[in-house]
């Protein structure tokens, strides 16, 4: 037998190679411009916090000269900022703690059992994607006022969890479906109840999708603005986005302070993103591409 080369060595004409080079150069150039468009505003915010207001008005472009840390230190020493961090964290964790069990239990029966109205329930939940909080905001406000949940973390977390159910169920269902039916049959033969199967088999096998939902819920809650704006009337209960908005209107002329506050509010989200990038991107694309 004769050994034939499977891939003939690529012969590139000089002109083709040059065209490739130009093409690639253009790609890098575009990438570079987009990168600048993203990094410049963020750097501007970080550096702006290190300037005095005077510097910011006169020369917002270069490096701060001299660097002033007083904006950052004064915010970090204020109880207000930390209170808002705590409030945001509490609400985010509460939301996730409610979405995870509620959505996974519903998605579990919808994915694994046949019963009348199954598709109807699923349709009802997916329809929820079309409801912006804005549509329900007035009655929501009235309900929360009636049950005394205004200015209460639960008053934000409960509706957020409810509005988070659709996407959570949509992402979880195919994941639950993919678990082999044999496993469920075997468990059923061994006398395993649905609850036991859900708890001891499904949930442990579904950790990736559960963490994805947790991360998406936490990010959404952390960034939420409209609902907390209406519900958290007491300034002591304000979350970080409300705090940033308040500072930016109250101290609208102290640009440097506003930028420092904004930068500090940005940091937790970016750290969280750095840690959980896989879950965030994986979850969003799973919802959009696989369905």
């Amino acid at each position: 037998m004769v050994d034939l080369p499977l891939d003939p060595p690529a012969v590139e004409s000089p002109s083709l190679r040059r065209r490739k080079w130009v093409g690639h150069g253009a790609l890098y150039l575009v990438a570079f411009f987009v990168l600048c468009a993203i990094i410049i505003p963020l750097t501007f915010s970080v550096l702006g916090g290190f300037r005095t207001n005077q510097q910011l008005v006169q020369d917002p472009v270069g490096f701060p000269n001299p660097w002033t840390g007083s904006n950052y230190t004064s915010i970090l020493q204020s109880g207000e900022f930390w209170r808002q961090v705590v409030n945001s964290t509490v609400i985010a964790l509460l939301s996730a703690a409610m979405v995870l069990p509620a959505a996974s239990m519903a998605a579990f029966v919808i994915a694994r059992y046949s019963f009348r109205g199954r598709e109807l329930f699923y349709g009802l939940f997916t329809l929820g994607l079309l409801f912006p909080v804005a549509v329900a905001i007035l009655p929501l406000f009235i309900v929360l006022r009636q049950v005394g949940l205004l200015s209460n973390p639960l008053g934000v977390a409960l509706p957020q969890a409810a509005f988070g159910l659709p996407i959570a169920i949509i992402i979880m269902r195919p994941f639950f479906r993919a678990i082999p039916q044999e496993l469920q049959d075997a468990a059923a033969i061994d006398g395993c109840t649905p609850l036991r199967f859900y708890w001891s088999v499904m949930l442990p096998l579904s950790r990736p999708v559960l963490s994805t939902i947790a991360v998406i819920t936490i990010v959404g809650s952390w960034n939420a603005f409209f609902l907390p704006l209406l519900v958290l009337i007491d300034p002591d209960k304000a979350t970080l986005p409300i705090g940033v908005n308040n500072v930016s209107t109250q101290f609208s002329t102290d640009f440097a302070l506003v930028l420092a506050y904004t930068t500090l509010a940005m940091v937790p989200a970016l750290i969280f993103y750095a840690i959980a990038e896989r879950q965030i991107i994986g979850g969003l694309t799973a919802g959009a591409v696989k369905e």
Binding site: A31, D59, F115, A136, P139, F225, V244, V289
Partner: protein
């Protein structure tokens, strides 16, 4: 060859193969989700619909039934019409500029350039920032004599400085830029995931047959990417109709309503205590979203079916 549909094989699993359980078990499992959803999503929406037929300030008893007056009022309210037209402008710009831009960058990240992973991470970063942070930072950059204007001055382009957020003619386009800045990464990531699912063999075969990269994109990538692109476009359209946070933080809908959206208009009415009127506006937003969704699903679904040769 069959065109891909959006259904996964798992979704076509016959119902008979699934386990059976008593109805009560099903209900118990659904109970937490149904309760949450019922109390905080369904009930408020039904209430919104009800309030929209009343002239009501949120405090008095709900007894001044006015029928469709609130809707008529919205239709003849120039401020609401302006807000609606702003939503439409953002929608059109998103569909024709933002999504194609995201597609371009997704193609870029799908090509063999260095540092793709880090570029994806950075391009997506604005999406994780809150609307408030985004709005406040950009307000500082675009304010008169802010970073952008001074930057333009510094490179000698003084003629290009503008009142980016204060000029009624310009503000909507500045806002659209900020919206794209924040959301393009989201669409890019969705499209990129779609691109990575495409079979490589087709492009290889095409390139052996001497297809140019444009032909390969136009006749292979684009049609196969259809379902993913439609999801992206759909989310972009719904997002444009429901736009609130970013606009409210950045401009509050101003100056003189030049950047208002239906949702900021709604919030203005809410703050004035016009609960009935505001509810009618919220129903209009929901109704439009629903109509778009249904229409879109019909058209998109038809097109996917046409690809299979089942229709037409």
């Amino acid at each position: 060859m069959r065109a891909p549909t959006t259904t996964t094989p798992a979704a076509r699993q016959p119902a008979s193969r699934l386990g059976r359980v008593p109805k009560t078990t099903v209900l118990l499992f659904m109970l937490p989700a149904l309760t949450l959803y019922g109390v905080f999503v369904i009930y408020p929406i039904i209430q919104s619909l009800r309030y929209s037929f009343y002239d009501w300030n949120g405090l008095e008893p709900l007894d001044n039934f006015v029928g469709l007056d609130n809707f008529r009022r919205a239709w003849s309210d120039q401020l609401f019409r302006d807000a609606l037209s702003h939503n439409v402008i953002i929608l059109v710009l998103s569909v024709f500029l933002q999504v194609p831009f995201a597609l371009g960058l997704a193609l870029l990240l799908n090509s063999r350039i260095h540092g793709r992973a880090i570029l994806r991470t950075l391009f997506f970063a604005p999406y994780v920032l809150s609307e408030v942070v985004t709005g406040v930072v950009w307000r500082q950059i675009l304010r008169p004599d802010g970073l952008l204007d001074q930057g333009l001055d510094a490179v000698g382009a003084t003629g290009l400085t503008h009142e980016w957020l204060a000029d009624p003619e310009l503000v909507l386009y500045s806002l659209f830029f900020i919206i794209s800045w924040k959301y393009f990464g989201f669409h890019m990531v969705i499209i990129l995931a779609g691109l990575q699912q495409l079979p490589r063999e087709l492009h290889e075969a095409a390139s052996i047959d001497g297809a140019s990269s444009w032909q390969s994109f136009r006749y292979i990538t684009l049609p196969l990417l259809g379902p993913t692109l439609r999801v992206s476009l759909f989310l972009s359209i719904i997002g444009a109709l429901q736009l609130f946070d970013l606009v409210w933080v950045t401009t509050k809908g101003g100056p003189i309503g030049a950047s208002s959206t239906m949702a900021t208009f709604l919030y203005d009415q809410f703050r004035k205590g016009l609960f009935g009127y505001a509810s009618a506006v919220s129903i209009v937003i929901f109704g439009l979203s629903l109509v778009v969704a249904l229409f879109y699903q019909r058209v998109a679904l038809r097109r996917d079916l046409e690809g299979t040769g089942l229709v037409g």
